[in-house]
Symmetry: C4
Subunit: 198 residues, 4 copies
């Protein structure tokens, strides 16, 4: 029951994060297509962030299904993840507003990196609740995506000062890599259920 409430609270926060980003689209002065030009980089960064929050919502949902019992540690690691993601609307707006200038683009990568690290901590704490030889642990252990993403974020942060569009390419690349729901856990869960006949 407690896990349900943590899930519902996280869902609420993620739904608000994903929606308040549109508050950054200020109504332009003019009334023609030209007056929307300034919004193009903003909407591009909004699309990427929308996909990221969607990915986190989806993977978070899969991850929480493997929780055995909620404790203070899990609760606060989850809050840490939500905190990092709550900074996404600000960095999204700044990156868009600045037309992908180096520092705002680097900061966008830093916040994504922080969220990825928080997610990794949460994942490890949940894996730690399962016996070391369980299907879930071995399935999660591979976690290629989880190990690849921080490296790509780091590259994006560095490249922001050389060629910001390369950073944007990396952000989109990671989003595509994660686009598909986390099959690992889904498979492990179904195997786990078969094992225990549930």
């Amino acid at each position: 029951m407690k896990a349900n409430r943590m899930e519902a609270f996280s869902d609420g926060v993620l739904a608000i994060i994903i929606t308040i980003m549109v508050l950054e689209f200020k109504v332009p002065e003019g009334h023609d297509w030209h007056s929307l030009t300034g919004l193009i980089p903003k909407i591009m960064s909004y699309i990427v962030s929308f996909v990221y929050v969607g990915i986190y919502w989806n993977n978070h949902h899969h991850l929480l299904h493997t929780v055995r019992r909620i404790n203070g540690k899990l609760m606060w690691l989850n809050m840490l993840l939500l905190f990092c993601l709550s900074l996404v609307p600000f960095t999204t707006a700044w990156m868009g507003e600045s037309h992908f200038a180096p520092t705002p683009t680097a900061l966008y990568g830093i916040v994504l990196l922080m969220a990825a690290v928080a997610y990794m901590f949460l994942q490890r704490a949940i894996i730690g609740q399962h016996p070391a030889d369980s299907v879930i642990v071995s399935a999660m252990g591979k976690d290629l995506k989880g190990k690849l993403s921080p490296i790509l974020y780091l590259l994006a942060i560095i490249m922001a000062y050389v060629m910001p569009w390369v950073s944007c390419f990396f952000f989109v690349l990671v989003a595509i890599v994660w686009f598909v729901p986390d099959k690992r856990i889904e498979q492990a869960l179904s195997m786990h259920n078969e094992e225990h006949g549930a």
Copy 2:
């Protein structure tokens, strides 16, 4: 269970979308009725958008009840629908602010068209989960409203550059057409339940 969570997340996003539109009503400088004059086109566009989001919330609810199993495709088509609807507050504000100028009115129609297309994709993906000869498929196949709306949106987009008030008339017309909950699915569902004795 998973469908429930997608429904709850969508509900949260729709509730926020419908409510943050009021944030566009800036407190006017004056303190008399005259100072509200500038808000009249804003509140008119707000009413129309409120009804649209209400319609989507209601039909979305009916539609999700016919889902057999959630997968990555459904989840992302649902996110696409929410993304399109998340642009409604911006276009509502711009259309109202501009007193129904051509381009903002056309953009309002474009966003509604995008949402209608996203909804159609979601509907098709869900229909695809049912056998071709099921009651639900045949009931949805007729879908006159769903086929009529995009045509009316297209007309509204074109008319925005000729007579914007005709576009507004089309927006209100589509809203009225959809006002009544989707009986098709309701009936198909009850027939479906009878068939399977559930």
Copy 3:
């Protein structure tokens, strides 16, 4: 099940309405107590609106428990109520900003009156689902509060142009009258349950 979802959606909208009102408290320029003076009428109107939304949330909850089946009519009457309440943050901010000037105070009363009428419609539609001689119908029929409130709102609207503080007194008075949860329905429901042995 459907009633649950309408309740959850309404809860979401009410939670957002009650919370976005604080966005009107702009951070003042100065850093001393004196710079908060301008916020005093705002916080006073916020407190009254907070109590009103709380009352609606509470009574709405009691009311929905007596629903037998959700249909399109109920769903749209509920949306009408939410629409009226969604205007409360704007009128609250305007009334506070204007230091209880006549027109903003009258508009505040008008929006409360609209919400009260929408609630009455919703209540009648729900009563209509019950047989005329049921305990719930006879209990609701008395509805002194429901009949008194619109009269007090009307008086408040008129008095706004004579002595605005009298209007404020009426707003507070109605809030106090409604403060206690709707015992009528609670009692009727428990009698109803006894009758049917549920």
Copy 4:
């Protein structure tokens, strides 16, 4: 069932409170790290407030699990707590904006004190529902944290006019003290369940 709905509504309000605080991070004019300097005190106060709302969410959740029946009194004491917490985004923004000036820092402490007192009232009302010799009452009776926090808030309010950084130290100290979920209630609940064989 009713307690569930109060919990869900409170969760919604707390999720919004915790998320709208980020709306205070206005996109800076410049596009370099230096232009973020002005945001540092804001983000510091945001972190502290995020942890406080997280703590309230967590303890509130534990507390509501001990509720036997919801009545008007509990419902309104809960609304009082939500009202106090709804003022946190404003005081957080003002304290950050003013770079921890005396009055904004004192007001931050006053709002935390108000929330602590509201929580205490809610807790007492819930304790009052249990027999005086129950495990829960004796466990809650100790409540060292609950008695210590208001004293530290009071000290912080006074110190804001002498050395504001001492106030900040007290705010962080109380947050650390409460960081760990309320073991008292958790233990009492498990004992309670054992007693009644549930």
